[in-house]
Symmetry: C2
Subunit: 405 residues, 2 copies
């Protein structure tokens, strides 16, 4: 088989962990498989580099920040090759230029545009274990664009897709996908399988096990994903086309603390108003999530939406600069919001899920600020200080009371 194995930053944080991961890679290789490894930067390297940059320039250029951050993966990959050599097996590290991972020039949050992989083929043919830097691509100017947080997952899946790998294993510090964050909910249960769509919702909604773009890509190219622990030999969770969980409505509960709410007060009620704002946001590459427009017959309206906390300052800045164009009277914003979501392929046909969720929050005396629903999820925006309690109440409602709808 051809197997892609991705190890996150915590799984290669120090020499000891690199050696453990190397042993796991070699064990797979010894079983007769061809192995491509994708690595993140070690432990807190990326954060440390960002701190170093900000010491020198509080607003570093994104192009230079990418140039700086990309060194982290190159280091972990070279060190991993050395660790595998020490175990007596052939390995070679390759960065994004060497592999031929092309990306769009959206520094700090690029998307992969094309994969070449010739070099990977030729190194695999020489029986080498190939170790690839995650998180980065080369844009049309020959510059490095990083893929955003969690981008190494995307690199791993993109390589698995391009190389038609039999399996893409994501090694992390949890041993699978749970019904809720086990650090918050001690009764959280590990899922044996989950569908791409459900995983996609969970990933987009703040369950940090997998990066959402990697799941999108896996779904698009039908890459069989497994989320596994880099420490234990526990089985992990398989992410694939069809989940077998006919009996469950809900697969999991996700929490995203990095949510900020922005409200534009006093907008002129033109028919194209929402289009104007959100096409403007899209042009500036800012993802907007939940959107609510005030109801009523006044000639002015309010519009409220959420962005990720890290985009809050940029968004406010952008909106203020274009106040006249957009046409509102003033802005309000709140960085201390959290988005709580329940996800499950079974909920589409069952209106009782939303009611059960609202009931659990009401029992916990937690106010809901915004609501958003899709075919397979319900999200609510709540105050961040209520977040953990909300997760426990909602998890209890769906997974511990065992209620039928």
């Amino acid at each position: 088989m051809l197997i892609v194995q991705k190890f996150g930053g915590s799984s290669v944080a120090n020499a000891d962990k690199i050696q453990k991961a190397a042993q796991r890679i070699v064990d797979t290789y010894k079983n007769g498989h061809k192995v491509i490894v994708v690595l993140s930067a070690q432990g807190d390297t990326t954060d440390d580099l960002i701190a170093k940059a900000k010491e020198i320039n509080p607003e570093p250029s994104k192009r230079e920040l990418d140039m700086l951050m990309a060194t982290g993966e190159q280091q972990s990959c070279a060190l991993m090759a050395m660790a595998i050599h020490r175990l007596g097996f052939p390995a070679i590290s390759l960065n994004a230029v060497q592999v031929g991972i092309s990306a769009f020039p959206q520094y700090g949050n690029a998307r992969i545009s094309r994969m070449k992989c010739d070099r990977i083929y030729s190194e695999l043919e020489r029986n080498s274990i190939v170790i690839v830097t995650g998180f980065q691509g080369i844009n049309q100017y020959g510059d490095i664009s990083t893929l955003g947080r969690g981008g190494s997952d995307t690199t791993a899946v993109a390589i698995a897709a391009e190389m038609q790998a039999d399996l893409c294993e994501i090694y992390t510090d949890v041993d699978g996908v749970y019904t809720a964050d086990p650090r918050m909910v001690k009764n959280a249960k590990k899922l044996k399988e989950i569908s791409y769509d459900e995983m996609l919702e969970l990933a987009s909604l703040g369950a940090v096990v997998l990066h959402n773009r990697s799941v999108e890509l896996a779904k698009k190219y039908n890459v069989r994903l497994v989320v596994r622990s880099s420490i234990t030999d526990a089985e992990g969770t398989v992410v694939k086309e069809e989940s077998q969980m006919e009996s469950t409505y809900i697969s999991g509960i996700a929490l995203d603390r990095e949510t900020a709410q922005i409200t534009l007060i006093g907008m002129k009620d033109d028919p194209g108003m929402a289009f104007k704002i959100f096409s403007f946001m899209a042009k500036n590459k800012i993802s907007v999530d939940i959107i609510i427009q005030s109801i009523g017959r006044q000639s002015v309206k309010d519009i409220s939406f959420t962005v990720s906390t890290e985009n809050l300052a940029d968004t406010i800045n952008l909106l203020e600069k274009n106040k006249d164009f957009i046409g509102y009277s003033h802005i309000m914003h709140d960085a201390n919001q959290a988005k709580l979501s329940v996800v499950g392929a079974g909920m589409a046909t069952n209106p009782g899920v939303a009611a059960a969720m609202f009931e659990a929050l009401s029992d916990a005396n937690i106010s809901i600020n915004m609501i958003s629903t899709s075919e397979i999820k319900i999200s609510v925006l709540i105050d961040e200080r209520d977040a953990e309690q909300a997760v426990r109440y909602v998890h209890n409602r769906f997974f511990e009371q065992g209620v039928e709808f």
Copy 2:
């Protein structure tokens, strides 16, 4: 003017030093010059990365070590670009791939094979300050080869040569080239000018101000070099074709502590004996320095030569593996040797220089183990423990007694 400015690791060791160097670069730019900056890795970064590698694998692959080390310069260059941006000026960092610095695949000690510089031209045309990673090139496999210790000097001179720069300034933690190491000899004097040839001898002989390959390259392409302090505004030393020092015989004294002596005992006295050994060493990329062959009419001879300490283990290993091919009875070696040299364009026509040097060492009661001479230098091999005293006595003899020959 087009000016290349190279800053060594100690000149960019922390945020504060990067900001100081950025100010100096910007001052040059504000004077209307086009500026290309070449940087080493920050402070001890390279050593720290090597230590990290050896923790994982005591004998790391040189290819992977280069992949690892090359990240150091990429980091310092990105940080420098950010520091210049903060001062309000345009700057862009470029690594060896982006510039197009081709190197031979001799990992850890590569030579530059070709420079493209198209990207540098286009960035300069946009009025950007261009910041280039020193110390590294890309070989024909698309892999990174580093240029060996001090390789950033070579990068700076190679760029200055290719771009036909008016000046190549080497910023370092000393403010010029001295008659001897000022840390050892307190009366050491700074030279206003020195010729390429003299600088070349000093550099090869252990005066660590400039990397010898960079001086060779500067001589070959007639690049005007200035060695200057990154801390003070002192004038520095100009390195150029013709030195003006008609009145001086000796330009400086150099000490190389990283010298080891190897002796092959009992070699068959074939006519091709020396050729056989040293072509063998050359094939294995080990530089041999002073060579002495025992004199006498026996059918077996001894041959003694020096290598740099870092190559000692490899050399012994190689010689032992090829004992039968080379044909000797046993090997002796001594890592605790130092090479003391006096350098000066004026000495060729003056036999008194050697005599004065030997006299000074005799006054200090220091034994000479080997002697080697060229047109413009005399080197002696002495025990390392005598090294500092030897420098002081010899400096005193030539620069303080003011003796005419």
